[in-house]
């Protein structure tokens, strides 16, 4: 029911628009921030169409490269992710068509029934290269986030919930919580700090790499 990869109808994210503008002005780092922000959703979307996790990553890479090349076409009247979502779906479909033309490709890289629908593969079905370790690592991160969330003071939990899950703006959260916008900003930041403090050691341990 709740597809985490589907575009969410909400107000245009000004940070995304500004990052696009900076990229078009020649600042590649700005585009990298968009990549860091959306890479998980894009890879998850593609993994619903393609089983091979290496292929998923290749298609995700190609998606971002195509987006980068076509960035001047993004008009900013819709969410950046909505625009990116369509590029990802089209890129994945093109990859699948090319794979089908290639007689050497094994069917395991494709959908079991050959379908090309991003909604056709259940979300909890592992891709071909997912190992028990990677599944466990993902579970650890999810558990750490949820545990940290439960341990938050009520005002911080409420603020971050309204922001991250409900998608409210700072102004709306301030109205809902009857507090100044600055307080909202501070509460959301403190909530994130508390949660990411539990997550970041796991990430560094699992990946062995730093930004």
């Amino acid at each position: 029911m709740n597809d985490p990869t589907a575009p969410i109808p909400e107000a245009v994210d000004h940070t995304d628009v500004l990052l696009v503008e900076r990229t078009l002005a020649g600042d590649q780092h700005a585009f990298e921030l968009l990549v860091i922000k959306y890479q998980r959703r894009i890879q998850r979307l593609i993994s619903r169409m393609v089983r091979d996790s290496d292929l998923v990553e290749d298609i995700a890479q190609e998606t971002f490269i195509r987006a980068y090349r076509a960035l001047h076409q993004f008009r900013g009247d819709a969410q950046f992710y909505t625009w990116l979502y369509r590029i990802a779906v089209n890129t994945a479909k093109k990859f699948l068509l090319d794979l089908k033309r290639d007689r050497l490709v094994t069917q395991t890289a494709l959908q079991p029934d050959g379908e090309e629908d991003e909604t056709s593969r259940p979300g909890n079905e592992p891709t071909t290269d997912e190992t028990p370790e990677s599944v466990l690592a993902a579970r650890e991160i999810a558990q750490a986030v949820n545990a940290a969330m439960e341990a938050l003071p009520e005002d911080l939990r409420q603020a971050v919930t309204l922001r991250e899950i409900e998608g409210l703006s700072y102004e709306d959260i301030a109205a809902a919580m009857d507090c100044p916008i600055g307080t909202v900003r501070s509460r959301i930041f403190r909530a994130r700090e508390a949660i990411s403090a539990r997550v970041r050691p796991l990430l560094e341990h699992q990946s062995g790499k730093r930004w």
């Binding site: 985490p4 940070t15 922000k37 890479q39 490269i65 076509a70 089209n90 999810a142 730093r210």
Partner: protein, 207 residues
């Protein structure tokens, strides 16, 4: 409000929520650009948001750094070749990537591009083919006599007429008639022999 934003990580958090404009936005961007720590927070904050929305999005998050690093290399190659606003005319919504031929060749060179010898061999082979065909045609004076040709079935069987009139002059009206009724000729449009052959001959006035 500005005092609240003095904290670097809070600035990154506000940037993640689309709350910064102008100078603050530029400052936050510069921070992330130059600080590995700030970039790690940018990643962690978005990861936390993703996982809060769905546990599924925690999958593969340990590979996020490697993914971004790989893409960074590709983007640097892209940037060295072309700026994004000039790179493409149409791409996103299902259309093929319309990239310049030169760019495609630069990114995906042919397997034999590194060796000029193959290009030379291909050129010589083309030249040799043209020479062989030309020699073949000129040596036979433009007449192919080797392979059987379906179109030759009808015409050569006229020895009598040739014997009677050594200098045969074709009547132009006959040509017109044959041209107008080509479908009744000895071959069909598919160059297959018909079941019968129609011949046109000159006859002596005495007969």
């Amino acid at each position: 409000m500005t005092q609240d934003m003095s904290n670097t990580r809070e600035l990154v958090s506000a940037l993640a929520d689309g709350q910064l404009r102008g100078e603050e936005f530029a400052r936050a961007l510069a921070l992330i650009e130059h600080s590995e720590e700030a970039r790690a927070h940018w990643h962690a904050y978005h990861l936390v948001g993703d996982v809060l929305r769905s546990d599924e999005l925690a999958a593969g998050s340990a590979r996020d750094v490697a993914f971004a690093a790989r893409l960074r290399q590709r983007l640097q190659q892209e940037a060295s070749m072309e700026r994004p606003e000039n790179a493409m005319n149409s791409v996103a919504f299902g259309a093929d990537i319309s990239r310049s031929e030169g760019q495609n060749r630069a990114e995906h060179p042919g397997a034999n591009d590194a060796s000029m010898r193959w290009k030379l061999v291909a050129g010589l082979a083309s030249l040799a083919t043209v020479m062989v065909v030309g020699w073949h045609l000129t040596s036979n004076d433009g007449k192919a006599d080797g392979a059987p040709q379906l179109a030759q079935v009808a015409v050569p069987v006229q020895p009598v007429a040739v014997e009677a009139t050594p200098a045969m002059i074709r009547d132009p009206r006959l040509d017109q008639l044959l041209a107008a009724h080509q479908q009744f000729g000895g071959t069909s449009a598919l160059q297959m022999p018909a079941g019968f052959v129609r011949n046109a001959t000159f006859e002596r006035p005495a007969r």
